[in-house]
Symmetry: C2
Subunit: 423 residues, 2 copies
C-alpha cells in the first residue's frame, strides 16, 4: 500500500492494523539495536587470542610483561599500520580504546596547543560531518569546542563547504572524519574527497583532520579500497595535516582490543611527549597476543582479511535481513529510504521528518534505537530524519522481531502525519 | 677507615685505591638500578594469570569481552578496594597504569574544575613532599602546576607546614602522597599524620589529597598497617578530600596489571562523567583474569597476602644485600646514611651533598642510577643529597657488582671533597 495514494478512510484502517501489529509483536519484548556491538558469535572468532598463554609469550626480549616501550612493540605497530593505512613508524599503540586516544589528542592540544598556543585559551571550532559518530561530538562538547555541521553526501562530506570554511576561519582547528563505512551513513569517501582533504589550506596552522578509520577492514562483501590519505599528504608536503586512528575493537574483542593512532612530525613529537608524562607504556602483553593471533608479520594482511571474512559471514545475513524486511515493507510505499552499505556496522534510515516519533514509538513497544538526533552536533537533526539501525548484536530471530516493530512504528508515524494533514 | 679521622696523604692513597677498585669492577659493565622494575622471577610469579584462557572466561554475563561497564566488573572493584583500602563502591577500575589515572584526574579538573572553575583558568599550586616520586612532579610540570616542596620526616611530610600552607593559600589545590613505603624514602605515614591530613581545612574548597597507595601490600617483612584515611574522612565528614590510587603493576605484571582510583561524592561523579566521554570501558578481560588469579572473593585478602609474600622472598635478599654492603663499607666511615624500609621498592641514600657527583661517577663507570635531583620538584635537590637505589630488577650477582661500583664512587666523591678542603 502506497500511503500517498490512499484515501483517508483506508489510512485510518491501516493505522488500526499497524497498531495491532505493534501490540502483537511487542508483547514482553525488550530488544536493543542502538549500538554497534559485536555479537557473541563474532567475539567467539577470537577465542584463540585468549589462549595465547605464557608459553607463547615467554622469551620475549625485552620482556613484554615489564614496564616500558611507550610506542608499543614493533610487530604491533606493523599490524596496526595495516589497519590504519600508514607506515609503521607513524604509529603509537594505545590501550583498548581508540576513542580514548582521540580524547587524549584533544587533551594534549587543549593543554599545550600545537604551535605553543594552548587550545584552552582559544575559541575552538570543529567541522562535524553529520550524521556522524555521536561520541566524536561528545568529545567536542566536553572540551567546549563549537561544532559546525557539514552535510554528508554519497562521496563524503561537502568538500567545497569545508574548503571555504577552513580557509577563512582560523578558529576552525579540526574535522572529524570516518572515511570508510561512515558511522552511520555507511558511505566511503571518494578519491576526490580524500585528495581534496589532503590538500586543504586552512587559515589555522594547527588545523588537523581527525581520521577515524574505524571500519577500514570491515567489509561485508568484497573489500573496498579507501584512497590513501597518508600518501597524498606526503605528496602535498602536508604531512602534519592528518591524525589517524583505528582499533581492534570490532576485529577481536570490543572491550579488550588494542588501539592505535598514526601521525607525523610535530604531531608525533607532541603526542609522544604527552604519553611520556601520562604512562610508562600501554599493555604490551595484549599487543603481543594480537600479534601472535594474526601469525607471522608477512601474513598479517592475509590473516586479517580471512578473519574479517568470518565476521562478514556472521554480519551479512543480518544486514540482508534488514534490507529484505525494509524492501518488503516499503518498496511500494516510499515513506522512508535507507542505506545499503558495503561494510561497517550501521544502516541509516531516512524517515523524512519522523525520526523522533519513530524512536519514541519503538521505545514504547520495547525496542531501543539510538536516540534521534545524537548523530548530529548538539543532538539537533534539523530535518528530524535520521535513524541508525545497528543489526550486529541481535540474533537473526531477535532482529526479525525488532524489524517488525520498527516497520510498524515507521508506518504508524507516517499515518499519524498523513491523517493529520488530510483532516 | 673513617675519612674524617684520616690524614691528607692516607686520603690520597685511599683515592688511588678506590679509583682502581672502580676500574676493576667497571670493565665492560652496564648495569641499571635506576627504576623500580620487578625482576623476571617476580613476573614469573603471575604466569598463571596469562593462562586464564577462554575456558575460564566463558559464560560471563554480561560478556566481559564486549563493550561497556565503565567502573569495571564488581569483583575487580572488590579486589582493588582491598589494595587501596576503601569501599568497593568508591572504586573505578582503570587500564594498566595508575599514573594514567592520576594524569586523567588532573586533566578532568584542568578542563572542568571541581566547583565549576576549571583549573586551566587558575594559578594552581601543589604541595610536593620530597624526596618524592618523580612522575608525580612531571605531571605538575606538564600542567604548569607550581610545586611547593614539603620536607619528609620519618613519620610523613611536615604536617604543621602543610596545615599552615593550605589554610592560607586558596591556590593550593593538591598534595601528592605515597603514604606507605614512600618513594623513595621508604617511610610509612604515622597515624597522627594520616589523621591530620584527613582533617585538613584548606582555603580552597577544591583542594584534594592525591593518595597514591602504590605499595599498600608490598611488605618485605611482616605486613605493616597504614592508618585508614577513608575511615577518617568519613568521621570528619570530609568525604571529598581524598582521591586514592593503586595498581597491580608491582603485584602481577608491571606493564599489564590493572589500576584503580577511589573517591567519593562529587569527585566520583565528575570522574565517571570524564570517563564516560573518554571511553566505553577499560579492559574487562584483564580485570577478570586478575579476579580469577586471586581466587574466590572471600579469599582475595589471604591470596593477595600469600602472593606478596613470594615477592618479598625474592626482594628481601636484594634489600639485605644492599644493607650488608653499605654496612660493610660505611659502618665506620659515616660519609653516607641510608634508609632501611620495611617494604616498597627503594633504598634512599643520603650523601650529604654529593648526589650529583656520585651519580655522574657511577654513570662513567657503567652504572645507571636515578638522576640526582629528579625526586624533587623542578629537579632541584637543594642539599644535593638524595640518591635512590632500586635493587629489584638486577640479579643478586649483578646487584653486588653494582654496589661495589656505587660504594667506590661514593668514596671517591667524598675523598675529592675532603682533599680539596684540606689542600
Amino acid at each position: 500500500m502506497n500511503y500517498f495514494q490512499t484515501n483517508f478512510n483506508d489510512l485510518k484502517d491501516e493505522l488500526e492494523t499497524q497498531l495491532k501489529t505493534c501490540k502483537k509483536f511487542s508483547e514482553g519484548l525488550f530488544l536493543d539495536i542502538s549500538r554497534g556491538k559485536p555479537s557473541q558469535a563474532q567475539l567467539d572468532l577470537s577465542s584463540a587470542l585468549l589462549d595465547v598463554g605464557h608459553k607463547n609469550l615467554e622469551n620475549n626480549i625485552p620482556d613484554v610483561r615489564n614496564y616500558g616501550n611507550l610506542e608499543g612493540i614493533p610487530e604491533a605497530q606493523k599490524l596496526m599500520a595495516i589497519l590504519i593505512g600508514c607506515q609503521q613508524e607513524d604509529v603509537i599503540i594505545g590501550g583498548n580504546s581508540s576513542l580514548s586516544l582521540m580524547f587524549d589528542v584533544i587533551s594534549c592540544f587543549f593543554i599545550h596547543g600545537i604551535d605553543g598556543n594552548p587550545w584552552c585559551n582559544q575559541k575552538i571550532k570543529f567541522l562535524c560531518p553529520s550524521p556522524g559518530y555521536d561520541r566524536h561530538f561528545s568529545i567536542c562538547e566536553y572540551f567546549g569546542i563549537e561544532m559546525i555541521p557539514i552535510k554528508v553526501n554519497d562521496d563524503g562530506p561537502d568538500i567545497e563547504r569545508i574548503k571555504n570554511l577552513v580557509k577563512n576561519d582560523q578558529n576552525i582547528k579540526g574535522i572529524w572524519c570516518v572515511p570508510k563505512y561512515s558511522n552511520p551513513s555507511g558511505i566511503i569517501y571518494s578519491d576526490h574527497v580524500v585528495k581534496e582533504l589532503a590538500n586543504l589550506s586552512p587559515a589555522a596552522s594547527d588545523f588537523r583532520i581527525f581520521w577515524d578509520n574505524a571500519y577500514s577492514v570491515h567489509d561485508l562483501m568484497e573489500p573496498s579500497d579507501l584512497f590513501d590519505i597518508f600518501y597524498e599528504i606526503s605528496k602535498n608536503q602536508k604531512n602534519e595535516l592528518v591524525i589517524a586512528f583505528s582499533s581492534m575493537s570490532k576485529v577481536t574483542f570490543a572491550g579488550s582490543g588494542i588501539s592505535a593512532l598514526a601521525c607525523r612530525g610535530k604531531n608525533l613529537e607532541l603526542l609522544k611527549k604527552y604519553y611520556s608524562f601520562k604512562t610508562i607504556g600501554f599493555d604490551k602483553i595484549n599487543q603481543l597476543r594480537h600479534v601472535k593471533f594474526f601469525g607471522k608479520d608477512k601474513n598479517f594482511k592475509q590473516n586479517l582479511k580471512l578473519h574479517m571474512r568470518k565476521h562478514a559471514e556472521i554480519l551479512r545475513p543480518k544486514f540482508n535481513l534488514v534490507h529484505e524486511v525494509l524492501e518488503f515493507n516499503f518498496k511500494n510505499n516510499p515513506i522512508i529510504s535507507w542505506s545499503k552499505p558495503g561494510g561497517g556496522y550501521f544502516i541509516c534510515v531516512n524517515t523524512f521528518g519522523s525520526a523522533k516519533r519513530v524512536v519514541d514509538l519503538c521505545a514504547e513497544n520495547g525496542l531501543k534505537l539510538t536516540p534521534a538526533g545524537v548523530m548530529f552536533p548538539y543532538g539537533i537533526d534539523l530535518e528530524d530524519s535520521t535513524i541508525r539501525i545497528a543489526p550486529s548484536y541481535s540474533s537473526l530471530e531477535e532482529l526479525k522481531k525488532a524489524l517488525e516493530i520498527f516497520c510498524a512504528c515507521v508506518k504508524i508515524s507516517a499515518l499519524e502525519k498523513l491523517l493529520k494533514m488530510r483532516r
